[in-house]
Amino acid sequence: MICQGNGFIKKFNVQGRNFSHAGIVSTKIKEILEEIGIAPAIIRRAAIASYEAEMNIVMYADHAEVILCLSLSAINITFKDKGQGINNIELAMQEGYSTATDEMREMGFGAGLGLPNIKRNADKLDISSSPGKGTTLDVTFYLNGKK
């Protein structure tokens, strides 16, 4: 994380398998970034990456803690879930690879585009996962126009 002990920090909880609430945290993060006055193009990338990560939590995890951390130089969002984890991260990063169920697809998700889309929108993405335990995504967006 970029701004430990420094800057604005807000924590959220996401409940897994609760499709009707899926996206609420990302919407709140977007609202916070808008209130602070972050550049719209950066907000959009952060909102898309956050929403994709939140949908992954809802689809695959039991619950998760999301930590939004703002410093003068970057937005950092950490998604730490307890759930089934990812067996093969390299495979999961490939567009089109998916282990989604029919229920997930009926919601309009689970096309195997989530993680690649997070990577595309983020300036920096770190993934760590323990199969059977959970996954942590650490996503960073620089405010100084690096991307």
């Binding site: 977007k30 959009r44 909102a47 898309i48 929403y51 994709e52 919601m107 309009g108 096309a111 585009l113």
Partner: protein, 119 residues
């Protein structure tokens, strides 16, 4: 093209957002797959979709879409309509199916999302 012209072309019903009928729409995209919309959508988009759950409104908000049109006469439930009201996103519903709705708008000069997919 203004949203009210799109409403006429598609003979669409306005579900909510009557104050936004003069919004200018510069491009449109049609998909039932919100994963695709998140990956390929762009700000100001008119989203045509046959999916009617609340995630369509959330996705529209996240990508900065200007409006959502539900095809095949579909409509979101009250939660979706309420969220659209909060996020100032007009929602419309047309009886036309996806192919015809998109075709009619394209014929009237409304461009699609400009993005080339690598194969």
């Amino acid at each position: 093209m203004k949203l009210k012209e799109i409403k006429e072309i598609l003979e669409a019903d306005l579900i909510c957002g009557e104050n936004y009928l003069d919004v200018e729409i510069e491009c449109a995209g049609g998909s039932d797959l919100m994963s695709d919309v998140l990956a390929f959508g762009q700000p100001g988009l008119l989203l045509l979709t046959g999916l009617s759950n609340i995630q369509t409104v959330r996705t529209a908000d996240i990508i900065g879409a200007n409006a959502v049109i539900y095809v095949r006469g579909k409509k979101p439930d009250s939660n979706g309509i309420e969220l659209a009201g909060q996020k100032n996103i007009p929602l419309l519903s047309t009886k036309f199916m996806m192919y015809k709705a998109c075709g009619l708008l394209y014929n009237h000069g409304l461009a699609g999302v400009e993005r080339t997919i690598k194969t």
